[in-house]
């Protein structure tokens, strides 16, 4: 190693980063041109840097466990969270309160009637399968759907996977061949609930999730569809299946068991 090599090596991090002054950069470059060992080191450092920059976005996109996100969200809403950087948001607070107030009103109104809930969601079920039915054979990966629902709409929900997706061990053929075919944001209340679309034995099924809402269990029929309402873990689930069709009973049980 030449006497100058150590000095040059000390500058290589900045050389690879492009943060050296022009003069320093020229000096490093002159040395590298004349010193193959240092050139090899610089090549490695620049190569690693370039590779990491090229992959940075993907490396940073580590799927966050849904529970963690909701816990952190809860923390940010705790009374402790009165902070300098939230102050600019104060003017939005009134707007947010208004939205929450309106939402609460809607919730109160809708809670009055399971029949109304069933009717609205059945209508949505029929509309979505009418408009957004995917091509035959299309199935979706539950984990990807969860991610999409979180990223696009902020829904933090568990999506029951297709029964043969391996995500539900032990269910096998008893699960009635349920396939997750699509997921949407449902236009119920103020348009904020997840709608998961399934197919089983050629029949359409929908699972709606009302986050943070509890209801008494209920089963009823609307528009020729069967609606089952139940609550678990602080959420309410609404499962819509074709009425009087026993061929989907196993599939319906599977989805209901998987919902949480």
């Amino acid at each position: 190693m030449k006497p100058n090599c150590q000095r040059i090596c000390d500058l290589l991090a900045q050389y690879a980063d492009g943060t050296l002054s022009d003069a320093e950069r020229a000096e490093v470059q002159r040395h590298l041109d004349a010193c193959p060992p240092c050139q090899a080191i610089a090549g490695k450092e620049c190569g690693a840097r370039q590779l990491l920059r090229a992959c940075a976005e993907r490396l940073r996109a580590e799927p966050v466990p849904p529970g963690l996100r909701s816990r952190c969200q809860a923390l940010s809403c705790s009374p402790q969270a009165g902070h300098p950087w939230f102050r600019p948001a104060v003017k939005f607070a009134i707007a947010a309160l208004l939205i929450i107030f309106t939402g609460s009103l809607l919730a109160i109104v809708t809670r009055q009637s399971d029949a109304l809930l069933a009717a609205q969601l059945t209508a949505d079920h029929m509309k979505c399968f009418g408009l957004f039915r995917p091509d035959p054979g299309t199935t979706m990966d539950a984990a990807q759907v969860e991610r999409m629902l979180m990223q696009r709409f902020g829904f933090d929900v568990h999506v029951p996977p297709s029964s043969d997706a391996g995500g539900a061990p032990g269910t096998g053929a008893q699960a009635g061949g349920v396939e997750l075919v699509n997921a949407r944001r449902c236009l119920y209340a103020d348009g904020r609930i997840p709608h998961l679309m399934y197919e089983a034995n050629g029949q359409d099924m929908s699972l709606f999730i009302l986050e943070g809402e509890s209801r008494e269990p209920a089963e009823l029929t609307a528009f020729g569809h069967h609606t089952r309402i139940w609550s678990r873990g602080g959420n309410t689930f609404v499962l819509i299946t074709p009425a009087a069709d026993n061929s989907v009973a196993a599939a319906a049980r599977y989805v209901a068991d998987q919902a949480r």
Binding site: M1, C9, D10, L12, A13, Q14, A16, D17, P36, P37, Q39, A40, I41, G43, K44, E45, C46, G47, A48, R49, Q50, L51, L52, R53, A54, C55, A56, R58, L59, R60, A61, E62, P63, V64, P65, G67, L68, R69, R71, C72, Q73, L75, S76, S78, Q80, A81, G82, H83, P84, W85
Partner: protein
């Protein structure tokens, strides 16, 4: 703050190399961030502040667990790294790397780096923090940050350009 959750979790994964620990660490970071939010100076970098809390929390936790100090393995590796680099000039290193480095390989190679080097390289090349910000997060002088970045990058390159050694079943099992 929640907009930083995903990259923060990715950073925690590289720190802990364990999903459950990473989840725990990020949650602790948020608890502290909200509790000490009064200490955050407006106009400074909120993202850097969060990462500093994350790294402090991790250091404290490791100290509490009285696990091996970071300096021990970094010293060994600094010696090892000092010996490296004098070999044959590598032709077009970028190409060797870019050729077919899968994300998984890259992540594995990163995870394989000694903690001190992995942290410095990650914070610089993935998160693009400045040397000064990284120095604060890792609680070391700027010069140390730069040398760790330098050597970490070199080690990472070497790990990636050395093909994994596949041991044939016969050799492994001693069947003959």
């Amino acid at each position: 703050m929640l907009q930083f959750l995903e990259p923060l979790f990715a950073t925690a994964m590289r720190l802990t190399r364990n999903r459950a620990d990473a989840e725990d660490l990020v949650q602790d970071t948020f608890v502290k961030a909200f509790r000490f939010s009064g200490q955050f100076k407006r106009g400074t970098n909120l993202r850097a502040w969060l990462y500093t809390i994350l790294h402090n929390t991790w250091r404290n936790r490791r100290r509490d667990a009285s696990r091996e100090a970071v300096e021990v393995d970094s010293e060994q590796v600094e010696q090892a790294a000092a010996g490296a680099g004098g070999g044959e000039p590598v032709e077009t290193p970028e190409r060797i790397l870019m050729r077919s480095t899968l994300d998984a390989d890259l992540q594995a190679a990163l995870d394989d780096l000694p903690d001190a080097f992995r942290q410095a390289v990650w914070l610089r090349d993935v998160e693009e923090f400045t040397y000064a910000e990284i120095a604060e997060m890792l609680n070391v002088p700027i010069g140390t940050v730069m040398s760790r970045i330098s050597r970490g990058r070199r080690m990472l390159f070497e790990k990636l350009s050395t093909p994994a050694v596949v041991v044939p079943a016969e050799a492994a099992g001693g069947r003959r």
